[in-house]
């Protein structure tokens, strides 16, 4: 999205001092990433060299007994994120279609405004709602009510505005002459949307979902409050689960030595996953540009 404008800055005689001043600041900002990774690695170091390092790939998390298995938590994170996306994807795209293709004027503006505001919804408030309103409802089907599905629903509500806004933006980029052509061919609205508009906006929709995935994967508070937080391999989606992020939030307050280092390992794992997702998103975007040209 950043590189939409043709870069013509090279045409200009550079102002050396000002330019290098700005570059200096930019370099520091980029160093922030190195700093973050560096400090997290440094703090995770004792774990690499401890004799319990191999337990990292086990499924047991009993930090006081020297078991630091991250697999069940990674699975938990992936499961919760997956459910959130399965819910948020169709809902988000449907709402975007509704706003862009079916509604006109004031109503469309109001809905867009609502969802634009909702992108900034604090996760802790959603977690509070989940804990006090959704969990009692869910506990009708399974005793505790705090499990993967609840967390997935709360997360889905958190990321659905992101999906809606990005889908809306990519539907706006669909050329209007496609719509005129479809009308001339007497295609129904449904056929036009399913066969033409969605394929044309496909890469935008994907990148919106990847963006939502990044947000859902990194979310702490909303999940922490409703997921049950038991660090065991979940057997069904009605089992409580602990994610990587909530693991850090829950135990950081009192962790020491190897235990503390293992929490930084959780952080490192999170950074690694997010980096992969960002590169996936970047590759989607370059494809988009290629099609555009």
């Amino acid at each position: 999205m950043i590189l939409l404008r043709l870069n013509i800055s090279w045409l200009w005689k550079n102002n050396r001092i000002f330019g290098s001043l700005l570059f200096g600041v930019t370099a520091w900002v980029c160093c922030l990433l190195i700093f973050i990774v560096g400090f997290v690695v440094q703090e995770a170091f004792p774990f690499f060299f401890s004799d319990r390092a191999w337990t990292f790939i086990s499924t047991d998390w009993y930090p006081t007994d020297g078991w630091f298995g991250h697999v069940s938590m990674l699975v938990g994170s992936l499961l919760v994120t997956g459910i959130a996306l399965i819910i948020a994807g169709p809902f988000g795209i449907a709402v975007a279609i509704c706003i862009h293709f079916y509604l006109r004027g004031r109503l469309a503006n109001i809905l867009e405004f609502i969802f634009d505001i909702l992108t900034g919804m604090p996760s802790v408030v959603l977690g509070l709602w989940g804990l006090t309103a959704l969990v009692p409802v869910m506990s009708r089907w399974s005793p505790s009510g705090t499990h993967v599905l609840t967390a997935g629903i709360v997360l889905a509500l958190m990321v659905v505005p992101t999906v809606i806004m990005t889908s809306l933006a990519s539907f706006r980029l669909v050329p209007t002459n496609l719509r005129q052509a479809a009308q001339a061919l007497q295609l129904s609205q449904a056929t036009f949307i399913i066969r033409i508009a969605i394929p044309a906006a496909k890469s935008g929709l994907y990148s919106g979902i990847v963006l939502a995935c990044v947000r859902a994967f990194g979310e702490t508070m909303a999940v922490l409050m409703v997921a049950g937080n038991i660090a065991k391999m979940p057997k069904s989606i009605m089992d409580p689960v602990r994610t990587l992020t909530s693991n850090i939030a829950l135990e950081m307050a009192y962790a020491l030595d190897t235990h503390r280092a293992s929490l930084y390992m959780s952080g490192l794992l999170l950074i690694a996953c997010v980096t992969v997702l960002v590169f996936i998103q970047a590759s989607i975007r370059t494809k988009d540009v290629a099609i555009g040209q």
């Binding site: 800055s9 600041v25 279609i97 900034g120 509070l128 939030a249 960002v278």
Partner: protein
């Protein structure tokens, strides 16, 4: 015969169209109902707690009674620190990316910023805890929390600023060049005034994001609910207060809902301001293109 077949096909089409429309509208309606449920709950439970007294008194009995005055104060301090650090750094970086970058270096820098934007907030919390609290020896303090938040909203602010600078047409750059303006003059006199609404919107959105943040502050600014006396005191923001009341304190639910209502109203004002700025800018641009 043929026309019968045609009619059957068109009836089938018609049916498909109706089903699809119904599906779209029912999904939208369902989502809106859930959102109504969320806000109804917060409004009803929150209004029961909230009063003028709630806003101007300090929390008592770890938040079960009393108000949120000291917490509002802490939130304001943390945000102030985050914004003062973010604005110069973010503006400089986005100006470089927009006007000065070389292609190769620029690609690396924007990739780094994308990754920074994706790093989970709890990891910023880990980083803030090691770097600001322990390494720079700030301890659990408002300053450490503010700096951590600054790091967190920086990539977001840069991204929105860049979008604003990209909206300024290249015509302006060519024109400025033709007139022999220096780059600094162009940036100060033309680019920044033109992109001001976008930059302001980016700033406001970043403030909103910082206000909503909890995870990054848990281990940097801490949990103390007293009125902060200096930057180096620990203090909790609105969202941390909600988290603590909802999860760790039995009987804190009503206080949590009251605080949540305050937070939501605050964020509504912040974000709708930003929305207005962005939408007005977009409409202006469209008018400009038509005329």
């Amino acid at each position: 015969m043929v026309s019968n077949q045609k009619r059957a096909v068109s009836r089938q089409q018609d049916f498909k169209n109706k089903v699809f429309t119904a599906l779209i509208f029912s999904l939208t309606g369902l989502l809106l109902l859930v959102i109504l449920w969320i806000f109804g709950q917060i409004l009803i439970r929150g209004l029961g707690t909230i009063s003028w007294e709630f806003l101007i008194s300090n929390p008592l009995n770890s938040g079960r009674a009393g108000g949120i005055a000291s917490i509002l104060q802490t939130t304001a301090w943390v945000l102030l620190i985050a914004v003062t650090v973010t604005v110069p750094l973010g503006l400089a970086t986005s100006l470089w990316l927009s006007e000065f970058k070389s292609v190769r270096l620029g690609a690396w820098v924007s990739k780094a910023i994308y990754i920074l934007a994706g790093v989970p907030s709890i990891v910023y919390g880990l980083f803030g805890n090691t770097f600001f609290c322990l390494y720079l020896q700030l301890g659990y303090s408002i300053l450490a929390g503010g700096l951590t938040l600054a790091a967190m909203i920086l990539p977001y602010f840069i991204h929105t600023c860049l979008l604003g600078f990209n909206l300024v047409d290249n015509q302006w750059r060519l024109g400025a060049q033709a007139l022999g303006l220096s780059k600094i003059t162009f940036i100060v006199q033309i680019l920044l005034p033109q992109a001001a609404p976008a930059v302001a919107a980016g700033l406001i959105l970043s403030i909103g994001r910082a206000t909503a943040e909890t995870a990054a502050l848990l281990f940097t600014s801490g949990f103390v609910d007293k009125t902060p006396e200096s930057w180096l005191d620990s203090g909790r923001t609105l969202s941390v207060h909600i988290y603590d009341l909802a999860l760790n304190i039995t009987g804190g639910e009503s206080g949590a809902y009251g605080t949540a209502l305050v937070l939501i109203v605050l964020l509504f004002m912040i974000n709708s301001l930003a929305h207005q700025l962005v939408v007005s800018k977009r409409n202006n641009r469209m008018d400009g293109m038509n005329g």
